[in-house]
Symmetry: C2
Subunit: 199 residues, 2 copies
Amino acid sequence: MNLLLATRNAHKTAEFAQILGGEFIVSDLRSLPDALEVEETGNTFEENAMRKAVAASRLTKMLVVADDSGLEVEALGGAPGIRSARYAGENATDAENVAKLLAKLDSVSDAPEAKARFYCALAIARHGEAICTVAGEVRGKIIRQARGNNGFGYDPVFVPEGFEETFAALPVETKNAISHRARAIAALRNYLQQLAAKA
Amino acid sequence: MNLLLATRNAHKTAEFAQILGGEFIVSDLRSLPDALEVEETGNTFEENAMRKAVAASRLTKMLVVADDSGLEVEALGGAPGIRSARYAGENATDAENVAKLLAKLDSVSDAPEAKARFYCALAIARHGEAICTVAGEVRGKIIRQARGNNGFGYDPVFVPEGFEETFAALPVETKNAISHRARAIAALRNYLQQLAAKA
């Protein structure tokens, strides 16, 4: 089965290809001449992912998959949520977003740790029409001192459940085995295998 | 195709059967001897719907669909959201929930209207495994004076976009044609037809 990912990020595409396995041929927007401009105006990860998937599916006959993901901190009512990448402003750096997160946490709690999760929604579309979404999460906690140099985003302050180290300090293979995106891709694989079994 | 709805609500089952049409045979939990107890501990409508769908799918070999829905008010940061049915407490009446909503709105704004939407997620599962979710929404506004006697929940204070009357004052057929649940069921029908076309 041929899949188009609505991304230009080669690392992301490689992660999908690796988890989906040999029965799925994965390409991405780098294979298309057209640029894709989609505003992330949805209220949920699912809606933002679906906007991207539907828009990209107008450019190809392939089944299209798009992702949207972020961090939700319980003590902050789920913030930064869908605004994770632009929490400290439209072009905020990872360091600025992390700094804002820790400042917000300081303003609501003295506790050294805060319950949080990373969440990833994947939306599937074809021929300009929404099909459905799948999702994955990894629960853990936010710590106040950044640790580690791997990954990106909030990885340096996120410690997944069952581990002592942050996503940025854990080996990349470990993160990629338990991450919200890995789990969402595994859910996608289940979904696609059901679809393929029906074909 | 046979579908089991994870509900005991005959009205809901009739709405699904009507929108899905003759090619889908819809039954619900009333046809099963076992009671289904599922805690709605998810963070999103999708997660709560999926918990119900997966739990029910352990009781049958059929494809199972479960729903979760609610009202999101922009000025309240998306509240009452997944807590819509229990906004004023675990066993709150519709009137108590509406009263709390209007009081909250009064506390944040003097504007006579507040942007809002109803959202419905449907989750699909089989054999105890999550498959995917679809969703529907209807945008509109909350008004401060309840009007109409149809429907339930927040219907008396919700005016859908393009209409002058609340969901509770509009004819039932009108609400059922444009509601978040109707749109989610239409998305489900698209999904199932794709699935059936593959079979």
